[in-house]
């Protein structure tokens, strides 16, 4: 198992390298720069700014500088927020996004797994059709439609929660629900499918023949295999939750990293964009690794490859 982790770790380094390089050059080669969108700055001041931020050095020099700083863990200063470094910005915004993401994931798992297992046990019943239809709605109504609709109904209409903001505990509900519901829907469908496939296998018949009660069959025999598609889904899903957070944070005015990222992209804040992309990349790779480890634990056949 340890060898597996070490091997995967080594594999990620070239990936990160590719990401850094790609993003760096993409950002630099784009038309316009961080200072061209502002009201026109006198050329001498522009030159000074560029010199300060090292933008007047040849490209490859900037690149090497950046890598050097990176290895020291320094993501550089933000071009837009003059007194802040990228590290500080990320550090202040990420915990918010993390909290949102965790709530969303919790909702997704609890709702999704629950609905999926129940649906698979009562195949073709009313409960099955209902939960799958609900899941379908979750998949087809995008977050940026559901969010405003929820605000409309519960925030403005019924007045149960604030329409936006991240101050009180109640503010967490709608955003987490908006972000989590889609994934609950996918997880429900995947769980149902995975469980159904397992439940039709011969070894479940053997378990029945041994006199195992239904609960035991679900939890001891079926769940491990039935959850495999869900776990496989979770890897890329975590990346999606991150991108989904851009929209949710924008709609609900949440001061999270997603909103910073979108703003930074607009403002051509090079270092901020780069830093955030890198940060996300590391996060996604770490999550994927964790998910893969869980998969190997669940499915012993994978251990011998």
């Amino acid at each position: 198992m340890l060898r597996f982790i070490a091997k995967r770790f080594l594999e990620t380094i070239p990936v990160l390298f590719v990401i850094v390089t790609l993003t760096f050059f993409m950002v630099r080669l784009a038309p316009g720069g961080p200072f061209t969108t502002e009201k026109s700055i006198p050329p001498e001041i522009q030159k000074k700014l560029e010199a300060y931020y090292g933008l007047n050095k040849p490209l490859y020099h900037q690149y090497l500088d950046y890598i050097g700083n990176l290895l020291k863990g320094d993501l550089g200063p933000s071009f837009k927020y003059a007194t802040w470094s990228v590290n500080e910005l990320i550090w202040s915004a990420f915990p918010v996004s993390l909290e949102l993401g965790c709530y969303a994931l919790a909702i997704a798992l609890i709702l999704g797994l629950g609905a999926g297992v129940i649906a698979s046990l009562r195949q073709n019943s009313a409960a099955d059709h209902m939960s799958m239809s609900l899941a379908m709605i979750g998949i087809c109504v995008p977050t940026f439609v559901m969010g405003p609709l929820l605000i409309l109904v519960f925030g403005l209409g019924l007045g149960w929660v604030n329409a936006s903001g991240w101050d009180s505990a109640r503010d967490r509900i709608l955003p987490a629900l908006t972000l989590g519901f889609v994934y609950a829907a996918y997880i429900a469908r995947l769980t149902r499918g995975g469980m159904l496939e397992i439940l039709n296998q011969d070894f479940i018949r053997t378990a029945h023949a041994k006199g195992a009660p239904p609960i035991r069959i679900i939890f001891k025999h079926a769940l491990k295999g039935g959850l495999l598609p869900v776990v496989a889904f979770l890897g890329p899903a975590i990346a999606d939750i991150i991108t989904g957070s851009f929209v949710v944070e924008t709609i609900f005015q949440i001061p999270g990293l997603g909103r910073f990222f979108v703003t930074a992209a607009f403002n051509r804040d090079y270092t901020m964009v780069l830093g955030t992309v890198l940060f996300y990349a590391v996060l996604i790779i770490a999550c994927n690794l964790a998910v893969d480890i869980v998969q190997v634990w669940l499915n012993p056949k994978l251990r011998f490859e």
Partner: protein, 327 residues
């Protein structure tokens, strides 16, 4: 008193293309310690009969239409609740399935699956169960059992897996073992070993065995009595020796004739012409009549029933019953 009495078992499958009468009025008995063989082609209903007894027929689309299967004079397996059924299966009645590759849970260790019947039925605690599991593995001839018990099924060969299945079925020392073609999916060399193994266990435990197979040779070497099934019905029921030397049904005779090794060299292989009937259509009269060389008009008329023509020997052939023909 017989260990298991099956009366008029009917199991039908309600499919898109019609109602498939997989088991159509089957009745038999088995005593304690008896060794019964059920022989038939694919689709004859022998496996579905066993699944019906164990409560493993998927409902829907299957359904037990009628009949009773009284176990140990007390419980009707076909009508009791799932709870009651779970008390019996795995403990007093066990089954070994045809395909060892798919019948074991690939996500669980051998040990956990093997001792599960003991834990489910509260026979003993986990520590004791593990000991018994190890012993059971050794009994069935799995080498290096102590180490291998912690492996996963895909690390075992087919023959080994079948032994594990047998150990798992017998670990609670059931009164009845149902073996559904346990040697069909394994190598020929392993077949003989499995046969010997079950014989040995049967001897030691004194349990009854129902052995389902399409192979007459296996039946000859193991069973005391045989049922011949075709198209969901029993066509003949007799002690083994009588079945082979003094068969009283044309189908059985045709089956015996079809054994390749018994045929004269150089001649064209004997086959029974035609194909088994479509079970989704109602069959009037004897199901074998379309393919039978002795068929006459009245073979197509109901009722066709098993009748005892000699002590212990029953046949469903109306012409044999009235001694019109001899085979």
């Amino acid at each position: 008193m017989p260990l298991l009495t099956v009366n008029n078992l009917r199991a039908y499958f309600h499919t898109r293309n019609g109602v498939v009468r997989a088991v159509d009025d089957v009745s038999f008995e088995i005593e304690k310690g008896d060794m019964l063989g059920i022989v038939g082609e694919s689709g004859s209903g022998k496996s579905v009969t066993c699944y019906s007894l164990m409560g493993l027929v998927p409902q829907p689309p299957g359904r037990i239409e009628s009949g009773s299967a009284v176990f140990d004079g007390k419980t009707d397996l076909l009508k009791c609740s799932t709870n009651d059924l779970n008390q019996i299966r795995g403990k007093h009645m066990a089954m070994v399935f045809q395909d060892p590759m798919t019948s074991l849970n690939p996500y669980m260790r051998i040990e956990d699956q093997l001792i599960e019947p003991l834990l489910i039925h509260g026979v003993c605690g986990r520590a004791e169960a593990v000991k018994r599991g190890l012993h059971a593995l050794e009994e069935v001839g799995v080498p290096d059992a102590a180490k291998r018990i912690r492996s996963y099924p895909h690390e075992f060969s087919g023959g080994m897996r079948q032994r594990v299945m047998i150990a798992m079925a017998l670990i609670t020392k059931p009164e009845l073992l149902i073996a559904d073609e346990p040697t069909t999916a394994v190598d020929v060399t392993v077949q003989a070993q499995i046969l010997e193994l079950i014989k040995k266990m049967q001897n030691e435990l004194g349990m009854a065995v129902i052995w389902v197979t399409h192979d007459l040779g296996v039946v000859a070497g193991f069973c005391r009595r045989v049922l011949v099934m075709y198209a969901g019905r029993i066509l003949e029921s007799a002690p083994t020796e009588d079945l082979f030397y003094r068969t009283k049904h044309p189908y059985t005779r045709a089956l015996q004739r079809s054994i390749p090794s018994l045929q004269p060299k150089g001649a064209e292989l004997y086959t029974i012409a035609g194909a088994p009937p479509d079970l989704s259509k109602r069959i009037e009269g004897c199901p074998f009549a379309p393919r039978c060389e002795f068929a006459q008009e009245r073979c197509g008329q109901p009722p066709i029933e098993l009748k005892t023509v000699e002590p212990g020997h029953a046949t469903a052939c109306v012409r044999m019953q009235s001694s019109e023909i001899s085979i």
